[in-house]
Structure formats: structure tokens, C-alpha cells
């Protein structure tokens, strides 16, 4: 239902990314558009030249490390910060830019705050009714009941926020922000205040609620697993700008920049030389087509190939035929990740189930087992 995936990033150059799933016919109209948005605090630039389009009914996640400008972006959409430049358009209305600044209360934008920001002096029902035009009317009462049912808190209307658990507070915060039927719902690190076990369950739950409400949403997180698992599209941010936008599968499998590659998953970079028909690496020679969208002008160039643990396997080898040595074994529960230092000093990671067992210091061979093309970047050496 929400698999309409688009690439808006015009910087997508060196590979042809076909939409993995869905068709353009599914894509809704743009509900939220950011055009050249920037934010400076004195000499500090928090966000610069940011373009983003969010379409009707989709959930787009801004993903990035802390300080990358994702929360500032969210607050500019909400109207809690004014952009220094650029325009923000919500449902075809320019709410910031071109001389217009629409205050938050007049944008149809809802927000779920990191600490939830529930009103402690009001009951759960009063909190949910807070944003409605006539909170005492019968219609408002019905709307509140409907939303409390949606979030599974039908019986909790008379409680106060202080009586609720973290997950319940989050549900109330969601219901409250959805009640006025916002054009866009913003979620600021919505799961960061929950403990780990609850976090995973709430992710699915929130996704269900958003789907049922049919709302267009933008969320912000630094947790890649969260971003990849619930979003229709992910925008990876770095240093105040968007590095890549795409479906979770696209950004994970075909990161367009080293930053995106290294931020997602346990990335290693394998040095390689591009030949006429093959690509030569320290662990062996492979077909040149293995490299995603490689072009003629790179023939003879040095590149770095992105390899993740599931792309590589270690094999038993004696000292002479080995590619490298195990320098660390990382036990993750269901599997092992072996860190292997290759002859040239590069460290790569190999994912294994419990069947194979290597000790630290043991010589191993390393084999590429990826069944998909690999992303690559011009060598930095």
C-alpha cells in the first residue's frame, strides 16, 4: 500500500536506479515540499540547500547522526523554527519562504514530540481533544473516542498522563496529534524514550496506526534499523544536507555516497582495480558487471567496493593460500561476524552461522558470495 517509491535526488548519477517496487501510478500528489531550505544560527549552518518532496500517504524518515540537521528540518516544517532561506510548502500553501511565515498553529501540521509533551494537568481525553476546534462538542467527543480506539486506549480517557506507561503516553501523543487531521504528521525521534523491547513493538504499532489514519508523515531518527523497517522512503542526512533519498532497499543496497554506505550496516571498503572485463581485488578477480552501473571511463581506475558482512564468507585455508587472518570474532547471538585483516591491511567482515568456527589469529580465505551488484566509489587513495 505504501510501496510507491521514487527517487527525487537529482544527484543520482553513476548508477541507474530502477524503482524496486511499485509504479508511478501509485504515487500520490506531493503534500509537503521543501525547496532550497537552509537554516543558520549565527555563523553555524545547521541545514543547507535542502530539497525534499513527500507524497500523499507516505512515511518518509530523515535518518542521520545527531547534529546532522534532521530535527531542525522537522521543526522548520512544523513552524517552530523559521528557515533562513528556501520555501516550505504544505498542501500547496507556502508556509515559509517568499516573505511568508505561517505560525505553527495555522499550518495543518501535527507533531509527536520526543518527550511526548503531554499536558499533565489534562486527562488523556482532554489531551486528545486539545487540538479540535470545539473540544466540548459531541463531534469532538466522538472523534476522541475514535482515536483512542485507534491507538488501543479506549478505556483510558479519564486517566492523566502521569498514570500511563511510556508506550501508552506515546499512543496518546499520536492520537492527540492525529485528532485535528493534519496534512502532515511529524514524529521527532518517536521511539527514543521507550525501552528497547517496547521500541520494536511500538514501531509496528505506530506504522499500523499511521496506515489506518492514512496520514502523510515525516519522522526523524538516528536509528537505521527503525528507519529501514517502517519507512516508505528514507532520506539520509549528513552535515545539514540530504545525501540520498530512496526506498529502504535502495539506500541500503545502493548507497550513493561513502557516508551513506558507512552509516548503514557494517560497511567495509574493498580496494579494487577495474579492468577491461574484470575487476581485480586482493581476494580475487570477479566479473566487471558485479559493479553497479560501472561505465567505460572507469576502465583502469582504482575503486573501493562496498562489501557488507553478508556479502563475504571466510573459508578454511592454510597459511600460504590464505587471504588474511581473523582478528576478531563478534558474537551476535544468531550468528558470528568474523573480522578479517587482509594482506594489505584492509579489515573486512564476514557473516557466518554457527557451523563454521574460526579462532582469532587463524588464517582464512575470503570469498565474495553476494548475489547482487555492489556499490563502489572512486578510490580516495
Amino acid at each position: 500500500m505504501h510501496n510507491d517509491v521514487r527517487i527525487d535526488d537529482p544527484t543520482a548519477e553513476h548508477f541507474e536506479a530502477a524503482p524496486a517496487t511499485g509504479t508511478d501510478a501509485d504515487a500520490g500528489d506531493p503534500v509537503l515540499e521543501l525547496d532550497g531550505v537552509g537554516k543558520r544560527y549565527g555563523p553555524e549552518t545547521a541545514v543547507s540547500e535542502l530539497d525534499l518532496t513527500v507524497r500523499d500517504g507516505e512515511l518518509l524518515t530523515l535518518l542521520g547522526p545527531s547534529g546532522c540537521g534532521k530535527t531542525t528540518t522537522l521543526r522548520m516544517i512544523a513552524g517552530l523554527e523559521d528557515p533562513s532561506e528556501g520555501t516550505v510548502t504544505v498542501a500547496d500553501e507556502t508556509v515559509a519562504g517568499d516573505g511568508a511565515i505561517v505560525p505553527p498553529e495555522e499550518r495543518d501540521v501535527g507533531m509527536v514530540f520526543q518527550e511526548f509533551a503531554l499536558f499533565p494537568h489534562l486527562t488523556v481525553a482532554e489531551n486528545v481533544a486539545f487540538g479540535l476546534d470545539d473540544p466540548d462538542s459531541e463531534a469532538a467527543e466522538e472523534r476522541v473516542a475514535e482515536l483512542l480506539d485507534l491507538v488501543g486506549l479506549g478505556e483510558y480517557g479519564d486517566r492523566t498522563p502521569g498514570d500511563l506507561s511510556g508506550g501508552q503516553r506515546q499512543r496518546v501523543a499520536l492520537a492527540r496529534s492525529l485528532a485535528p487531521e493534519p496534512d502532515v504528521l511529524l514524529l521527532d525521534e518517536p521511539f527514543s524514550n521507550l525501552d528497547v523491547r517496547l521500541r520494536v513493538a511500538m514501531r509496528e504499532e505506530v506504522r499500523r496506526i499511521l496506515d489506518e489514519a492514512g496520514v502523510t508523515a515525516v519522522s526523524v531518527t538516528h536509528d537505521q534499523e527503525e528507519a529501514l523497517s517502517i519507512s516508505d522512503r528514507v532520506a539520509v542526512m549528513h552535515d545539514g544536507h540530504v545525501e540520498q533519498v530512496g526506498s529502504p532497499a535502495e539506500v541500503f543496497e545502493h548507497p550513493e555516497s561513502r557516508f551513506v554506505a558507512s552509516f548503514l550496516g557494517q560497511a567495509s571498503f574493498l580496494p579494487a582495480a577495474v579492468g577491461e572485463a574484470s575487476v581485480e581485488t586482493i581476494i580475487g578477480s570477479y566479473d566487471r558487471d558485479l559493479l553497479e552501473g560501472i561505465t567505460e571511463e572507469y576502465t583502469g581506475a582504482d575503486v573501493d567496493v562496498l562489501v557488507r558482512p553478508d556479502d563475504l564468507r571466510a573459508t578454511p585455508a592454510n597459511e600460504t593460500e590464505a587471504d588474511g587472518h581473523v582478528v576478531r570474532r563478534q558474537y551476535t547471538g544468531p550468528s558470528f561476524v568474523y573480522h578479517v585483516e587482509l594482506a594489505d591491511g584492509t579489515v573486512v567482515r564476514c557473516l557466518h552461522n554457527h557451523a563454521e568456527d574460526f579462532d582469532v589469529g587463524e588464517p582464512v580465505g575470503v570469498t565474495l558470495v553476494a548475489d547482487h551488484t555492489l556499490a563502489w566509489y572512486p578510490a580516495e587513495r
Binding site: G79, E106, M111, L118, F119, P120, D133, L186
Partner: protein, 543 residues
């Protein structure tokens, strides 16, 4: 948090176990603390004893007389007016200095809290000497044909009191606003409420306990203040009690009845507050976020006019008037036995030092007991010492006058009785600061000293006392400074011929020699300013 206090409690239990094991000091401490509480409560006893000698029918006719009704109405009217005006002034100032981008916010925060350092009777004196008959500014304005409305009566009294007590509301409101979680304001705005609506529906309900606490302080202060209405000639309880006290015969019966009525009104206000104040326990642990400043836009500089105006009337004007009199008064006024003598200042310091010492000695057992025990007896003992806060100075003075005349003529109009009055009045200050320093001493330390072989008394002397010394000193300093400026009890109980700064100011202002009072009044403003430092610093830290 809960775990912390739990473990502190068990640690305390354990140590108390040790102390109780060998008995003595614990019992002695309880007796001592109880004796202090009893002594402090005696003035109430004298008052009731005296009241019991009045015929009920006589009492009823007195209390229902037109005069009594008028006094009650005046007092309640004044309290209502001053409280309402203080809220109307204090809350907007707090919002301006906490939540907006007012220019020079920090500066204004200090400035609008500062009027608290001017004792209200000095403020009243300054206003009367400026705008009253023959006042400094009235003399200037009259030839220009600008009519000066009378400063006397309800209007003037309410104005002056408001100007010097509204900071209570300002400070408590400010504290509430500082602990308010600003993301709630943002949440309200994303839920389609503008700032005004959000203030009314989200902020106001949550700062209400703070505003109420400040309003209560203002109401109690107004009810018990004697100097301002006396100088501004407005008949409220305190002024009438003082006047009747100085007339003999039936007057003293009146004073007694009025005192009881005043205490009853005080009790009603306290009860109202405890009902309205509620728990005040807002929030569920969401931290107060960095202040999201509300931009005032083009009203930024206009808004600064409010604190500037307030500062003009509360600080610049009184100090300016006093300074003006200081310059004006030549040596020509020296006659009439009203010349200022340095001895008066010495007397003030002397009696204040005695009061500070005595108060700390009284406070120590009570504070130590309350800090080391959670029992009802400890709490009751501590509460009893707070009577001084609730009992207006004139009522306390009256009670001790009865005590002196009827039971102890030997101490009547002597320093010991005056010092005792100060002790009753200011004990809460010393108990408060001492108790918090006692609580700051880890009970394990005493346990450690005991295990190391020190008997209880030595452990107290060598470990506890040095650790709580700063709290004791702070309490003593506070009592010293507040005694210096105390008007009511000093006026009623000072020994004949013993003149302090305060009684001197009172005498010369009654006689209309405004110029003579300027210097001691400025000195008292300074002293009072010093006594406010702890309070202001406590508030300022949050900024």
C-alpha cells in the same frame, strides 16, 4: 529518587537505632525541642487568657460594632486589592522576563525583584514624604498647578503595599515558569493554538500553584503589616490594635479581640490556600527544556516600558526622595530632642546581634530534632515554631505586653522580653536554614564517629556541629538583618529610652521631620537589601 530517599531513610533508621540504644541525648533533645516549641507558643496563651477575662456579651457587642465591621471590611478590602494588584503586576513581569525576548532580560529580572529589599514602611514613608502635605514632590508640583491626589487612605496604602510586595508573586511565578516544560507550548502550537490560547489553557493551569503561593505571601504580609497602613492612615486591624494598645482601659480589651479576629482571618487565608494550592505536582518527569523564547516582534521595546515604569516607582522614586531629603535637611532641624545620634545605630546592631544569637540557640534543638526524625512529634514541634510567621507583629507585641504587665513586671519593657519577641518572630528563618543543613549531614558520618568510639555528645560536637555551622551562621545572619528592620514588635516592646534606627524613624516621621529620617531609612534599605541576598541568589541561579 525514591530509591535514594529510601536508602537515606534506612540509613537514618539505623543511626537512630544506635542513638536510641543508649538513650539519653535523644530524650534530652526531644525535651529541649519541646520546651522551645512551648515557649514560642506562650504568646498565644497569654492572648487567650486575656480574652477569657472579657465578658462574652461585651465581646460580641464590640466585635459587631460599626467600627469593628469597618476595620474588618478595610482589612479584607486592602488584602484583596493588594493581592489582586500584585498578581496583575507580578505575573506579566514574570512572563516577560522568562518567556519572551525582552531586551536586557537578566537586568530586568533583578530590577523587578529588588523592591522586596525596601521595607514597605520605608516605602510608605518615602511616598508620604514625597506626595503628602509638605512633601518634597508635592511642594514642587503644587506651584505648577498639578493637583496631587491624597496619599492617605485605601488607595495610597494599596498602591504602596503593592509596589513593595508584588515581587513575592513575581518570584514564585518565575520559579514555576522556569520549571515549565516548554515543549508543551510547542505541542499546543502544533495543535492549532496561538500563544495566548496556549498560555491560558496550558501554561496558566500549571503555574497556578506558584502564583497562588506568591499571592498567599502577599495576602499574609498585607494582613500583618503595621507600618504602611499606619503611615498612610488607613484603619486596618494592625493600626487599630496599635492605637488601642496605647490607650488604657477598654482599649486593651478591644485590641485583644481585634487580635483574635486578625488571627482568625489569617487562619482562614491559610486554609483557603491549602485547599486551592492543591498538590502542585505537575508533570510526570518531563524535564524543563531550554527556554523557547516567545518573540515580541515590534513590541519588544514597548514591553520594556513596563519593568522600567515599575522600577521608577519602586526604586528610583523612594530612594530619590530619601536622597533629596538628605541633601535638603540642614543642621537647622537639630532641635526638639529629635537629633540623630550614632548610639541609635549601635542599639540596633546590639539588639539584633542578641536576637540572632538567641534565635539560633532556640532553633538548634528544634532543627536538629526535625532533621533527624520523621515522627509526628518532630513535625509538630517544627510546625509550632512557625507560629511567628502567622502571628502579626502587633499581635505578638500585645500578647507580650499582657504577659509583662500581669505576670512578669520585672521583664516588662526590658531587653530580654524584646529579644524573646524577636525569637518568636524570626525562629522559622533560623530553623529553616539549620534544618536543611542538618539534612545535608550524612547520618552515616555520625554512625562512623560512634563506631570510632566517640560518645554521642562528642560525635555531635566534633562531627555534626562543624558541618552544620554554615547553616547556623546563615540563619543567624538572616535573623540579624530582619531584626534590624523589624518595626512592630520593636515599637511596642522596646525599653523606655532605648532608641533604635527603627524607633527613631518612626518618631521623626510622626513628627513630620522627614529630613531627619532620610539617612537611617537609607541605611535600613541597605540592611534589608543584604537580608534579601539569599532569597534573590536562590532565584537568580536558575536564570
Amino acid at each position: 529518587m525514591a530509591a535514594g530517599s529510601d536508602s537515606a531513610a534506612t540509613a537514618r533508621d539505623r543511626v537512630r537505632g544506635i542513638v536510641r540504644d543508649d538513650d539519653g541525648p535523644s530524650v534530652a533533645l526531644v525535651l529541649l525541642a519541646g520546651a522551645v516549641a512551648a515557649a514560642v507558643l506562650t504568646p498565644l496563651l497569654w492572648l487567650l487568657l486575656r480574652a477569657s477575662t472579657i465578658e462574652p456579651s461585651e465581646a460580641l457587642s464590640l466585635l459587631t460594632s460599626p467600627t469593628a465591621t469597618e476595620v474588618l471590611a478595610n482589612s479584607l478590602g486592602l488584602v484583596a486589592l493588594v493581592t489582586a494588584a500584585s498578581v496583575a503586576l507580578g505575573v506579566p513581569l514574570a512572563v516577560l522576563t522568562v518567556q519572551t525576548d525582552l531586551p536586557f532580560r537578566r537586568f530586568w529580572t533583578v530590577v523587578v525583584a529588588l523592591p522586596l529589599v525596601v521595607p514597605s514602611y520605608i516605602g510608605a514613608f518615602a511616598y508620604v514624604s514625597a506626595f503628602g502635605p509638605n512633601g518634597a514632590l508635592a511642594d514642587l508640583l503644587a506651584p505648577l498647578g498639578i493637583p496631587v491626589p491624597t496619599v492617605y487612605g485605601l488607595g495610597g496604602t494599596a498602591l504602596v503595599l503593592t509596589l513593595f510586595v508584588y515581587p513575592y508573586v513575581f518570584l514564585t511565578t518565575r520559579a514555576s515558569l522556569l520549571s515549565f516544560d516548554e515543549s508543551q507550548l510547542e505541542a499546543a502550537r502544533t495543535l492549532n493554538h496561538g500563544y495566548r490560547s496556549a498560555f491560558r489553557r496550558v501554561i496558566l493551569p500549571q503555574i497556578a500553584p506558584g502564583v497562588t503561593a506568591g499571592a498567599l505571601l502577599v495576602a499574609l504580609y498585607t494582613l500583618s503589616d503595621f507600618g504602611t497602613p499606619a503611615i498612610m492612615r488607613f484603619d486596618v486591624f494592625t493600626r487599630v490594635i496599635y492605637v488601642e494598645l496605647n490607650s488604657f482601659g477598654i482599649g486593651r480589651a478591644n485590641a485583644t479581640l481585634f487580635s483574635l479576629e486578625l488571627l482568625a482571618v489569617t487562619a482562614v487565608i491559610l486554609a483557603l490556600e491549602s485547599r486551592v494550592g492543591g498538590d502542585g505536582g505537575s508533570g510526570y518527569g518531563a524535564p524543563a527544556s531550554a527556554n523557547a523564547v516567545v518573540p515580541l516582534g515590534r513590541y519588544r521595546w514597548v514591553a520594556a516600558a513596563l519593568p522600567a515604569l515599575v522600577a521608577t516607582f519602586t526604586l528610583a522614586l523612594p530612594v530619590g526622595v530619601l536622597a533629596m531629603w538628605l541633601v535638603r535637611s540642614g543642621p537647622g532641624y537639630a532641635g526638639g530632642g529629635l537629633a540623630f545620634q550614632p548610639e541609635f545605630a549601635f542599639n540596633s546592631v546590639y539588639v539584633a546581634a542578641l536576637a540572632a544569637l538567641a534565635t539560633v540557640l532556640f532553633a538548634l534543638p528544634v532543627a536538629y530534632y526535625a532533621g533527624r526524625s520523621n515522627g509526628w512529634l518532630a513535625r509538630a514541634t517544627e510546625r509550632a515554631t512557625y507560629l511567628g510567621y502567622a502571628m502579626p507583629g502587633v499581635v505578638l507585641g500585645l500578647a507580650l505586653v499582657f504577659f509583662g504587665i500581669h505576670y512578669a513586671p520585672a521583664v516588662y519593657q526590658t531587653l530580654p522580653l524584646l529579644v524573646f519577641a524577636y525569637v518568636v518572630r524570626f525562629l522559622p528563618q533560623a530553623v529553616g536554614s539549620t534544618r536543611s543543613s542538618v539534612l545535608g549531614v550524612d547520618p552515616e558520618l555520625i554512625g562512623a564517629a560512634r563506631v570510632l568510639g566517640a560518645p554521642p555528645r562528642r560525635a555531635f560536637r566534633r562531627v555534626t556541629l562543624p558541618l552544620i555551622a554554615p547553616g547556623l551562621l546563615a540563619g543567624a545572619a538572616l535573623v540579624f538583618l530582619t531584626t534590624m528592620k523589624e518595626l512592630d514588635t520593636t515599637l511596642i516592646l522596646h525599653p523606655t529610652g532605648f532608641t533604635t534606627l527603627v524607633t527613631y524613624i518612626w518618631r521623626v516621621q510622626e513628627a513630620g521631620y522627614y529630613g531627619r529620617a532620610a539617612l537611617p531609612a537609607l541605611v535600613l534599605v541597605l540592611v534589608s537589601g543584604l537580608s534579601m541576598i539569599p532569597l534573590l541568589r536562590q532565584q537568580g541561579d536558575d536564570a
